[in-house]
Structure formats: structure tokens, C-alpha cells
């Protein structure tokens, strides 16, 4: 698989480390009423869809940026790549 890095262009997926569903960006609020329940779901449960999947890849052997890659889990086709930093800010995180 080739990941089209927003800054570096097309890179071999072997340069990256995979973390999982990009929902991991949305860490629950530890102060919330049901934080234990939320952290259980965050830590352990996954949608694991067959089809489009937004996921986190880390460019370990490159610029060490985190990317949000949209990839089809049935065909391995990659349809979108963004810097995770931009995506996290868009979702309301401060960094």
C-alpha cells in the first residue's frame, strides 16, 4: 500500500506504524460522570467496519507525523490522507 503523505507525497506503507481507528483521537473526559464506562469503550471496543475506515498511521521512518488515513478495509484503497494534528484541532482538541 502507498500512503500519499500530505507533506511528503507518496510513501510506502512499510515506513509507517499502524495504531487503529481514528476515533482514538477523541479521548474521553476523565472528569465526566461515567468516565469509567467511556474509557472502557474507548480503550477496548471497536467499530471494526467492512468498508471505509478512518485510521491513525504514524510515519516512524519519516517525518514522525501522525496521519488520519481513510482506507477501504475490503479493497485496501486509500481515499484520503490528512495530518492528524489538523483533524484533532477540527474535532475540538487544543493540540
Amino acid at each position: 500500500m502507498i500512503i500519499n503523505h500530505p507533506l511528503l507525497g507518496p510513501r510506502d506503507a512499510a515506513e509507517f506504524v499502524y495504531l487503529g481507528d481514528a476515533a482514538l483521537i477523541d479521548r474521553p473526559d476523565p472528569e465526566a460522570e461515567n468516565a469509567d464506562e467511556q474509557f472502557y469503550e474507548y480503550g477496548y471496543l471497536r467499530d471494526n467496519p467492512a468498508g471505509a475506515h478512518q485510521e491513525l498511521w504514524y510515519h516512524e521512518q519519516g517525518d514522525r507525523s501522525w496521519l488520519v488515513v481513510t482506507r477501504d478495509t475490503l479493497t485496501h484503497e486509500i481515499t484520503g490522507v490528512k495530518l492528524a494534528r489538523d483533524e484533532a484541532k477540527k474535532r475540538g482538541r487544543n493540540k
Binding site: G20, D21, G43, R46, N48, T73
Partner: protein, 416 residues
């Protein structure tokens, strides 16, 4: 028909005209006591033990494709009980004991071959860890034997003992481990279940569950609605997809594992050998091909094929312990989609929906579990209590903080 030497003789003398199909191909009835979703190894063995040991009748196995089209027909066929955690090891030892009597039990030649498994170690700390594992194995009633370097040099002279990076210092043997012909396991269980009246329905995909007031009353399928008192899901790599039809999210990700087979060679490997410093395992099939594999590709996928970086990684692992492997030619490689659980251990449990049961999370080690998984799932379905060797394989164990962390690495979906 019972298979025997006499039957072969009789059929041989009468032109082999009397052999019959090994299972029926019935249309689904309107209602069953138990519907098993998924006709892989685990689904078929569940049906077999449910009808044979637990005396239940009126059972159907619904399979989306044909029998053996999933991981039961794709694995590298290794069986063993060299686990360590109390929640796992007694279960896998129970499974190995069932393998030992399986062919007589279901009257089918599954080519169970206890040719041994050897886990190599490459350093002193790793030796200590293996001694500890061996003791845990022996405590569970399994066999374990430590081999030093001198012994291995005598037995397996082709290993790269003096490898500069990963010298081989010895290994942990389980002599009762080995390999089994995977397709024959599916066929043997299917034939056995069918002979006890189980309806095995192929090309029948489950597309939904009928759930009323928190009770599961049947399934929707490509062959219409089928009612059931109990529905037992057992779909391995498709676990999340199927359980999402019941609105459930699982502690599982689907990943691909690749396997490889070389051209046929003269007998070279006496048993299964695994590399201790990377991920590589190899055995030799009865046809002579070296069958080997390594790590999963490492990203979510439902495509039954992998990518080249892992091919390279596996080949490097092979070269590190067994340089002679570089001289053989690769014949085929393939992939299977596995249900990777968050701690590397499986689930055999009820769900919060009454009448709906779940068996999955086998990662890439579920073939060896086939007999015990079916036996314990059947026990749960018949009695609504877990079998004594499967009490910890619960769906809520992460919530309770009771993970079965065989590797001591915490939650991540890339464990064995």
C-alpha cells in the same frame, strides 16, 4: 456409513459404487432449538458436541459460503497446548486431549500427527521465561521438555546455531503438539454432526437477528427468516460485522494473517519449529511442502490477502534460523481474516441479549482450539453455564479488569 478397513475392502471389490455423500444438503426448517451461525471448524464442532455429548436435537448450522471456505481451510494446522495463563492453559490442554481421541470419536481420518512443536530460545532471560512456561504447562497436565543447545545440534543440525544476532541456545519442546489436516477436521465434524441429525445449510448468509424485548427469537438469512430458541454466533473474522447486526460493538479488530507453502521436498523437518526472536513458524506437510508463516499485516482488513512487507519479514525470520530455506521455491501464499481480540484471548459467552451467544476472538490460534471451543460452546448452550475450563473467556472481562494477558503487554489487537 461407518468407515473401516473392511468397508474399504468391500467397496474396492464392488467398484467403489457404494460410497455416499458424507452429509445431507437440507433446506432450512421454520424453527430450530439452536441455530449456529458460521460453518467453520468451531461452528461444526459445536454442532457435533451439542448433538453427541449434550443430547440436543433440532440444530442447524448456517454457513454463508461452503464448508471450509473460512479460516478452517486457510490455517497452518498447528496444534499445541503451550500457553501459560490459568484462563487459557487448561482449556488448550483439554483441546489437545480431545485431538488425541478425535479420529476414533468421529470415525474420520483427520491425520492428527503429534510430531512435536519446538519453541527456540536465544538468550538466558528467554530460557528462564520458557522454564516458567514449561512449569505452567506441566501443572495443567500437559507435557513440556527443555532441550539444550547440544541436544538440538544433534537433532536439528540445519539450524543456524551460531547466528551472530540470534544464536540458538535451546528450546522448549511439547512432544504432543503437532499438525492436523485442517479440511478433514471440518469434514469430519460436519459428517459427525449430520449423522446426529444436525442440518448443515450452506450458501445461507445470516443478514440480521430478530430481537424482541431483549430476547433473540431467530435470524434473517438469505434463505428467509428462521426461528430459534438459541442463536450461537461463531463466525471468526466476521465477528464484528455479524454482531453489529445485533447492535453490539466488540473488543475485536479484523486483521489478515498470511501463510506460505514451498515446493515439495524430501522429509527435512521432523516437527513444528518456531523462531524465538522474531515471528516465524514452520512445519513440513505430508506432501513435502514447507508450510510457514509469521506476523499479521497489522492493519484492519477484511480482504483475504496481505501485502509484501510482511512477506519480506517472514522470509527474513526463516533465513535467520534456517538458512537452507533460501534454496526452496515458494509455491503459494494466501491470507485469512482473523478476529483479533484486545488481549489475544478468545470469548465463549452469552451476550446481554437473551438467547444470543457469542464465540470468537480466536486471533490466529483458533485451529488448535477447534475441539475444545465446540465442546465448551455446546456446554454453555446446553446448560447456560460456562464449561469449567472456559470460565474466564467472558465478554465483559475488560470491563472487570480481568484480561487474559498471555503476553503481558496490555490491550492491543495484535497479540496471538
Amino acid at each position: 456409513m461407518r468407515y473401516s478397513a473392511f468397508e474399504i475392502l468391500k467397496q474396492g471389490l464392488s467398484g467403489n459404487k457404494g460410497w455416499k455423500p458424507v452429509w445431507r444438503e437440507p433446506e432450512p426448517k421454520a424453527e430450530y432449538d439452536v441455530i449456529i451461525v458460521g460453518g467453520g471448524g468451531h461452528g461444526l464442532s459445536t454442532a457435533y458436541y451439542l448433538s453427541k455429548v449434550y443430547g440436543m436435537r433440532n440444530i442447524a448450522v448456517l454457513e454463508k459460503g461452503w464448508l471450509g471456505s473460512g479460516n478452517i481451510g486457510r490455517n497452518t494446522t498447528i496444534i499445541r497446548s503451550n500457553y501459560m495463563m490459568p484462563g487459557n492453559q487448561p482449556f488448550y490442554e483439554f483441546s489437545l486431549k480431545l485431538w488425541e481421541g478425535l479420529e476414533q470419536d468421529f470415525n474420520y481420518n483427520a491425520m492428527v500427527s503429534q510430531r512435536s512443536i519446538l519453541n527456540l530460545f536465544h538468550s538466558d532471560p528467554q530460557r528462564d521465561a520458557f522454564v516458567r512456561r514449561a512449569n505452567a504447562m506441566i501443572l495443567s497436565g500437559a507435557d513440556a521438555e527443555l532441550a539444550d543447545e547440544a541436544q538440538l545440534r544433534r537433532e536439528l543440525p540445519f539450524l543456524d546455531f551460531d547466528n551472530a544476532r540470534f544464536p540458538i541456545k535451546g528450546g522448549l519442546y511439547q512432544r504432543r503438539g503437532g499438525t492436523v489436516r485442517h479440511d478433514a477436521v471440518a469434514w469430519g465434524y460436519a459428517r459427525g454432526a449430520d449423522s446426529h441429525g444436525v442440518d448443515i445449510i450452506q450458501n445461507c448468509e445470516v443478514t440480521g437477528f430478530d430481537i424482541e424485548n431483549g430476547v433473540c427469537t431467530g435470524v434473517q438469512s438469505s434463505k428467509g427468516r428462521i426461528r430459534a430458541k438459541k442463536v450461537a454466533v461463531c463466525v471468526a473474522g466476521s465477528s464484528s460485522r455479524v454482531m453489529s447486526l445485533a447492535g453490539m460493538r466488540l473488543p475485536i479488530e479484523s486483521h489478515v494473517l498470511q501463510a506460505f507453502v514451498t515446493e515439495g521436498l524430501k522429509p527435512t523437518l521432523p516437527g513444528v519449529i518456531t523462531f524465538g526472536a522474531g515471528h516465524f513458524y514452520v512445519s513440513q506437510s505430508d506432501k513435502g511442502g514447507l508450510v510457514f508463516g509469521g506476523d499479521i499485516d497489522g492493519y484492519n482488513t477484511y480482504a483475504q490477502r496481505g501485502n509484501l512487507p510482511v512477506v519480506e519479514d517472514v522470509a527474513e525470520g526463516g533465513m535467520a534460523i534456517m538458512p537452507m530455506i533460501g534454496r526452496t521455491r515458494l509455491l503459494r501464499s494466501w491470507g485469512g481474516v482473523m478476529d483479533m481480540s484486545m488481549d489475544g484471548s478468545p470469548f465463549i459467552d452469552k451476550t446481554h441479549i437473551e438467547g444470543l451467544y457469542f464465540n470468537g476472538g480466536w486471533c490466529y490460534g483458533g485451529f488448535k482450539a477447534t475441539p475444545a471451543s465446540g465442546y465448551c460452546y455446546a456446554h454453555l448452550l446446553a446448560n447456560d453455564t460456562p464449561h469449567p475450563v472456559a470460565t474466564e473467556m467472558r465478554l465483559d472481562r475488560f470491563k472487570r479488569g480481568h484480561i487474559i494477558d498471555e503476553k503481558g503487554q496490555g490491550n492491543q489487537p495484535n497479540l496471538h
